[in-house]
């Protein structure tokens, strides 16, 4: 249905699409190479949201980012939701589909947050089976995103990179490396973000996310960064991003700004900055 020539995501900056920027995005600004949408916002039967997405897909490569599959959860995947996702992916034909190393579905309902989990061998087995199911239903490879975390689990048996690498190797999924999440988690869990990037299996990375966070502190005054997607990318994260690109080469890079969304020129400046890192790689 769509032009297959636009069906790959280039190693350029992309943006998380917001309806308030529709006019500016449809004008095809030079710094913008592709767009990403949240799958769950486009699962209605019709109306302006779907019409807008169709228009976007006609002029941009589109990446589809799920926020509701609860891939890290202990319970079986919601097959109704998987069917909705398949319906969307079938008509949209996105160049990429990604989801989170997190969970959100609980006995009481859908908790609408990306919740953390202990990194155990049992969790690897469970997540590999969930990802295999997703890739089978969608008929395409998915990317799994590293989380931003505020807590650790005493039950964890391995570090995050070992966990992600084993999942990617066994399921055949790719990885989405959120560099801001690396910085947030490393600060919150007290490890070195540069060492994390240096150990990360960058060969598996099909996309990078950059976003803003806010600073807080816990009850003993230890730094606590909150992944809010509500601010510009901070200088430390730009630096970590440049280090990532220098080490692994250019990758499609998304600017995520989901809350307190600014006027378009502010986002465009972030895109331009990412473009400079990518073109000088």
């Amino acid at each position: 249905m769509f032009d297959t020539l636009t069906n790959t995501i280039p190693n350029r900056p992309g943006v998380g699409f917001k309806a308030q920027h529709a006019a500016e995005v449809m004008a095809r600004p030079a710094a913008l190479g592709w767009v990403e949408i949240h799958a769950e916002n486009y699962m209605g039967d019709g109306g302006p949201a779907l019409a807008q997405l169709r228009a976007l897909r006609e002029v941009y490569p589109v990446s589809c980012h799920g926020v509701g599959l609860s891939i890290g959860g202990e319970r079986p995947l919601d097959t109704d939701h998987l069917a909705r996702l398949r319906k969307l992916v079938d008509w949209l034909e996105p160049a990429l589909f990604s989801e989170h190393l997190a969970w959100s579905t609980h006995d009481s309902g859908f908790l609408n947050d990306l919740l953390p989990l202990p990194y155990t061998q049992a969790a690897v087995d469970r997540i590999v089976s969930h990802i295999t199911q997703v890739q089978d239903v969608l008929g395409k490879q998915m990317l799994l995103e590293n989380p931003s975390t505020y807590v650790a689990f005493a039950q964890s048996e391995m570090d995050e990179i070992t966990f992600l690498r084993e999942i990617a190797t066994r399921s055949g999924c790719g990885l989405l490396l959120d560099v801001n999440n690396v910085f947030v988690s490393a600060t919150n869990q007290d490890y070195d973000p540069v060492a994390y990037i240096d150990a990360f299996p960058l060969d598996h990375v099909g996309e990078i996310h950059l976003g803003g966070h806010e600073e807080d502190a816990d009850e003993v005054g230890a730094p606590l960064l909150i992944d809010t997607h509500s601010r510009p990318v901070v200088p430390d994260v730009w630096q970590l991003y440049a280090h990532t690109i220098a080490r692994g080469g250019p990758r499609p890079t998304l600017i995520e700004w989901d809350n307190d969304v600014p006027d378009w020129p502010v986002l465009e400046a972030e895109l331009t900055r990412a473009d400079q890192v990518l073109t000088h790689a």
């Binding site: 609980h106 006995d107 009481s108 202990p118 807590v151 919150n188 009850e219 003993v220």
Partner: protein, 247 residues
Amino acid sequence: MLEGFGAALLDPDAKVPDGVIRPDGHPAWRRFTVYRNNVVSSLIDALETGFPTVAKLVGTEFFAAMAGVFVRAHPPSNPLMFKYGAAFPDWIAGFRPASSLPYLPDVARLDLARREAFHAADAAPAAPTLLAEIAPEALDTARLRLLPSLRVVTSSFPILTIWRINHEGADLPLTQTAQSVLILRPEMTVTMWPLPTGADTFLMALSDGAPLAEAAEAAAMVHRDFDLSTTMQTLIPARAFAGVIDA
């Protein structure tokens, strides 16, 4: 393990789940609270987006307090946030702190109907000459198909006037009149129309598949002053019909 974590998120009195720790190995109370706040505030935000007129009428602070009680008791059943809150209007009707605003549940129903119309399936409205194209002898038994986005909210309060005052800054007199409102999306914009007496019953009969004459009779049974021609004079310009269902 994760079930306990999830239950503690919705219970403000629950302790930090076992094994959830800070980098120094101690229980991560403040850090766990970040997740707890994110879950509740993101759901409250979803309701505030979905019920903008309710939020405007009661103010942000009251809305957050009211929605906070609802989201802990009724978290969404699936990840589609644009569908969340279908049970909110009925729940508001039983929420005592809001009882001084008796029209609030119906205003919530109007907000919900607008949201449903926005996301409903697309369908081209029939031409305004729809009825003229039906042979006169077939008119009584003709079955009309309504637009998939069509909703009706009937209230003992002037909910359409309340909506227009709040969103369009309309300078309208607020009288104690009941209003029945037609909500639909003929193209990409949701529109609303005040309905004449009995039109709600008439539309409900049509959506159940009743032929024109039968639906008009049903409306006249319930509302003595139902008038088919007045009703059609609203429904046709509103573009409520998608076409005629073949017999």
